[in-house]
């Protein structure tokens, strides 16, 4: 995976994870173009599209679009499962997750993603293990409302 973007139906970015080195300007340009392209898709269309030389896999969950850019040799269908797994993790962690949870706790969304994927690949295929690790790491923190 080269990058993952989460954005709302109004095109507001909620999370961006880049696994390839690009300057800020490039990232902004790609984000803008891709968001436009995906938002223009009709609901009945398939979840895959070709964009530049990448394959884009996207899926909408409620008001959020989850969008991944994968390479030619990557499996699109399993990428859909990866996206789904991430949503499940967020759901379990926040308890019926919604967009607001991700907005107000964006750093947690990143932490969970970083326990699930590393360098663009899945590091843990067990839902239980990912959540356990997050839980344990959270215990090492001071209470959030005090720090942040």
């Amino acid at each position: 995976m080269q990058f993952m973007l989460l954005f709302s139906r109004q095109g507001k970015l909620r999370l961006q994870k880049w696994y390839v080195p690009l300057c800020d300007k490039e990232k902004k340009k790609i984000t803008r173009e891709l968001v436009q392209t995906v938002l223009a898709r009709k609901p009945k269309m398939c979840s895959f599209l070709e964009w530049r030389d990448l394959k884009i896999v996207y899926k909408r969950y409620a008001s959020l679009y989850f969008c991944c850019a994968i390479e030619d040799q990557d499996n699109e269908l399993i990428t859909l499962e990866i996206i789904h797994r991430y949503v499940e993790l967020l759901d379990k962690y926040f308890g019926s997750v919604c967009e607001l949870d991700i907005i107000f706790n964006f750093e947690k969304a990143y932490f969970i993603l970083d326990e699930f994927l590393l360098g663009g690949e899945a590091q843990e295929t067990s839902k239980k293990n990912v959540l356990k690790a997050i839980e344990q790491a959270d215990l090492l923190q001071e209470p959030r409302h005090e720090v942040l």
Partner: protein
């Protein structure tokens, strides 16, 4: 200094902003506060400030002044600080700036931290955005962690190693020892990441690939366990055990089995098992099947397995889920070359996908449909493709039109069908057709002699409906210019001939000249067409008027042509009929380059006058029939005999320079004997190639004696036509060893059907006695199928007062002349 506002507070506040300007103001205020806080080196709230900065960065505002703060957080001992610090580093730092290198030491320390979660943070950061320098410095630490027994760290180290290898491929060797027992792990996380690591190494190094081939049995075993084992709640996804791991293993097997018989055989059974036993009701099962199919197609699998794979794809095509259909079409496109027949079986389903609503699916279906067109299904497929062309998006139309032209050219069942198909494309997608189709189509039309009347009629009718599509208009004007006489005389056999008068035709063409819709190129086409009609129609005065008007056109191109055509009417009127005669059948050559000059006759190139000195096609045919009768065979093709007409020696004007070149084959005007028609075929280049310019090549092919009887000896010498290797140029040398001259000497030749032959003018009709001279004549033979050259020749001459006639077969051509 009051405590900086909380992250939550900030987010809430910013969200209340009603305009972009209001938001920007809030952000700027907060950034200023954060900046002063940073300046004060406040440790307590640094974490909070950076978190807020990261939020604002996500909204699109600059946050580079927080980079160093992230580094300070990473260096802190507090876990919260480190967490936010590393996150900030991943979001704000990039390897282009030297600042990022300051992280290296911190990461190194944290890789050896006592808390695994801290180690995890640093591994994650390094594996996500580590630069090559960082990777070089820290590879050793990563390698150490790859060998740890802590599975939490081991799996992260494996993926970190993947990143290191991608950044610094030379370091790959160093990770080799650590890979030794990676696959014996029970932990799925470690297994998954290990397979990813092995895949990366095998993809990058053929040595690694051969080294790791021995792992195939182990991989097969792991995969088997996953499938056969019972329900495992931890890794279950819709009844399938760890699909992520299954897919990765299948992908690694693909790489290991490719091109290797033993490995492919070792994985054959498991692939068949996965292919048949995987649940297909949910996406996850199909994801595994998809990967399996890709693997089967890439390795050396037995044919039964391949058929199984294609059938899975066929089933995918019928799946309700669009994504599955898309993936199936993509895979079929990859395999259509190698497993063509298997894919053909699913042709109707693929064609149905042309009607899908999804753009990506439609495109794939179109590409696949073109790949599947063949001689058997051309009619049916073309119907579907034409229907698709009608209704598809504009982005597709150009590609679809080109594809249709190509397919039609390759597999057209009849000339009429071909022309109808082209007409359909031009009328429905005419403006999207590529520029080079126009000359190709014109050539096609020219070569379909029997369809000329039908074609011109249809094109004329199309013009009456719509003159906006330029390629259609250009082809139509050209045809009307060429075959206008057929149009007016109502000669069409294929369909009901229409009644149209010369004036109506000229109205249409003049309409094109003045229309705003016509491009300059189109106008040039119509002007030339009008001019050509001056020899085909009787309303010459009208044409003269039009042409003279455009002599003062603003468009330089049009002006020049009009002026030249005017000159044709005035000073060179005697040449006009010959110049504006019908085009001959053009040779189709594959290459571009010099031969294009031979073929194009100026349709696309607006600077070359597209008129030539050309024979009327019907005339040589009658001579040829005589020849056939005389020679008696059915397998000979009529020969177009040609001579060079007299030309006035003139200079000045491009028009005439072109014609000047043609007088190279020189010689006196032949006597107008009925068996020798007075016309010249050719192509500009002919004039040049019939000269012995290629003497060096002639040396390669040995000359031969074709005929030697009664004192008349005919020798053939060979040259290869340089621009076109399928054309052999033969020069005959006729000598006479008898005591009396042979006068009225005529040489005729005929060749089998697969060849085409052109005879240029002889040097003279008299073969002097006693070998005092020779008659030479050039024959050009087109041999596209490279068949063995055979020829029948007929000689007639007057010797000692009596006519002599003889026939002979020439079969002793040297192989180099036709190979």
């Amino acid at each position: 200094m009051p405590a900086p506002i909380r992250l939550r507070e900030l987010i809430r506040t910013i969200r209340t902003a009603r305009t972009q300007a209001e938001e920007r103001e809030m952000i700027q205020k907060e950034c200023a506060a954060i900046r002063s806080s940073f300046r004060e080196e406040d440790n307590t709230y640094r974490c909070r400030n950076v978190a807020k900065l990261l939020y604002m960065h996500m909204l699109g505002y600059p946050a580079h002044f927080g980079q160093l703060e992230c580094l300070k957080l990473i260096a802190s001992q507090k876990f919260t600080d480190k967490r936010i610090g590393y996150l900030g580093a991943m979001l704000l730092l990039d390897e282009r700036q030297d600042v990022h290198l300051l992280m290296t030491n911190c990461i190194k320390n944290d890789l050896n931290h006592s808390t695994q979660y801290v180690q995890g943070l640093s591994l994650c950061t390094l594996g996500c955005m580590g630069s090559s320098e960082m990777c070089r410095d820290l590879a050793g630490e990563v390698e150490k962690l790859l060998k740890t027994s802590n599975s939490y760290l081991r799996k992260k180290a494996a993926l970190c190693a993947v990143h290191v290898i991608r950044k610094v491929p030379e370091l790959m060797e160093m990770f080799l020892p650590a890979t030794k027992n990676l696959l014996s792990e029970k932990n799925h996380g470690v297994l998954h990441t290990s397979v990813v690591l092995l895949t990366e190494m095998c993809e990058r190094s053929p040595d690694m690939l051969s080294h790791f081939r021995k792992l195939v049995p182990q991989l097969v075993r792991i995969l088997k366990n996953l499938i056969m084992s019972g329900y495992s709640p931890e890794h279950d996804v819709s009844g399938i055990s760890d699909p992520f791991l299954q897919v990765r293993i299948l992908r690694l097997l693909r790489i290991l089995g490719k091109g290797d018989d033993d490995s492919s055989e070792a994985m054959n059974d498991i692939l068949a098992q996965v292919a048949t036993n995987t649940e297909t009701s949910k996406n996850v099962g199909n994801a595994i099947l998809y990967e399996t199919v890709l693997t089967i197609m890439d390795i050396k699998s037995e044919s039964g397995l391949r058929v199984l794979a294609i059938n899975i794809l066929g089933r995918f095509l019928l799946n309700n889920d669009k994504n599955i259909r898309y993936v199936a079409l993509t895979s079929l496109l990859k395999t259509v070359q190698t497993d063509h027949n298997a894919v053909q079986r699913h042709r109707s389903t693929i064609v149905d996908c042309l009607k899908d609503l999804d753009v990506s699916i439609k495109r794939r279906a179109m590409e696949l449909s073109f790949a599947l067109v063949n001689g058997n299904n051309i009619r049916g497929m073309m119907k579907e493709l034409l229907y698709f062309l009608d209704s598809c998006d504009p982005d597709f139309k150009a590609d679809c039109a080109s594809g249709i032209f190509l397919a039609a050219e390759k597999y057209a069942p009849s000339k009429r069908w071909h022309i109808d198909t082209i007409m359909r494309v031009l009328t429905t997608a005419g403006s999207y057709v590529r520029d080079d189709s126009v000359p190709n189509l014109i050539q096609l039309i020219t070569n379909s002699v029997e369809m000329h009347a039908y074609t011109v009629q249809r094109l004329y009718k199309a013009l009456l409906d719509d003159i906006s599509q330029q390629p259609l208009v250009q082809v139509a004007s050209w045809c009307i210019g060429e075959y206008g006489d057929l149009l007016v005389s109502g000669q069409c056999e294929e369909e009901e001939p229409i009644q149209v008068s010369e004036d109506e035709v000229l109205d249409v063409l003049e309409g094109l000249l003045v229309s705003n819709l016509s491009t300059p190129v189109t106008r040039a086409y119509s002007l030339t067409a009008i001019m050509k009609l001056s020899t085909r129609f009787s309303s010459v005065n009208r044409i003269k008027k039009v042409v003279s008007i455009y002599g003062s056109s603003i468009d330089v191109e049009l002006q020049q042509r009009a002026v030249e055509y005017n000159a044709l009417f005035k000073k060179y009127d005697h040449m006009r009929p010959a110049l504006l005669e019908r085009m001959p059948i053009m040779e189709k050559t594959a290459s571009n380059g010099p031969t294009d000059i031979v073929q194009t006759n100026g349709e696309t190139d607006s600077t070359i006058l597209d008129t030539k000195h050309l024979p009327n096609i019907t005339q040589p045919a009658s001579q040829a029939n005589d020849l056939l009768d005389l020679l008696g065979g059915n397998d000979v093709v009529p020969v177009i005999q040609t001579t060079v007409p007299t030309k006035p020696a003139s200079a000045g004007g491009e028009l005439l320079d072109l014609l000047g070149d043609l007088s190279l084959t020189g010689g006196p005007t032949p006597t107008p004997a009925p068996s020798v028609p007075m016309s010249q075929p050719s192509f500009l280049l002919d004039g040049l190639t019939s000269q012995p310019l290629f003497n060096d090549i002639a040396a390669v092919i040995p000359p031969m004696t074709a005929y030697n009887k009664n004192g008349l000896k005919i020798e053939f010498t060979f040259e290869r036509s340089n621009p076109n290797p399928n054309i052999a140029v033969i020069t005959i040398h006729a000598t006479n060893s008898s005591e009396a001259d042979m006068t009225e000497f005529v040489f005729q030749a005929a060749v089998p059907k697969t060849f085409q032959l052109q005879l240029l003018s002889p040097s003279s009709n008299v073969v002097p006695a006693l070998n005092q001279g020779s008659v030479t004549q050039v024959i050009r033979v087109l041999n596209p199928q490279k068949q063995q050259l055979r020829m029948r020749i007929k000689l007639t001459y007057t010797h000692k007062g009596s006519p002599v006639q003889d026939l002979a077969e020439v079969n002793n051509f040297p192989p180099q002349s036709w190979q």
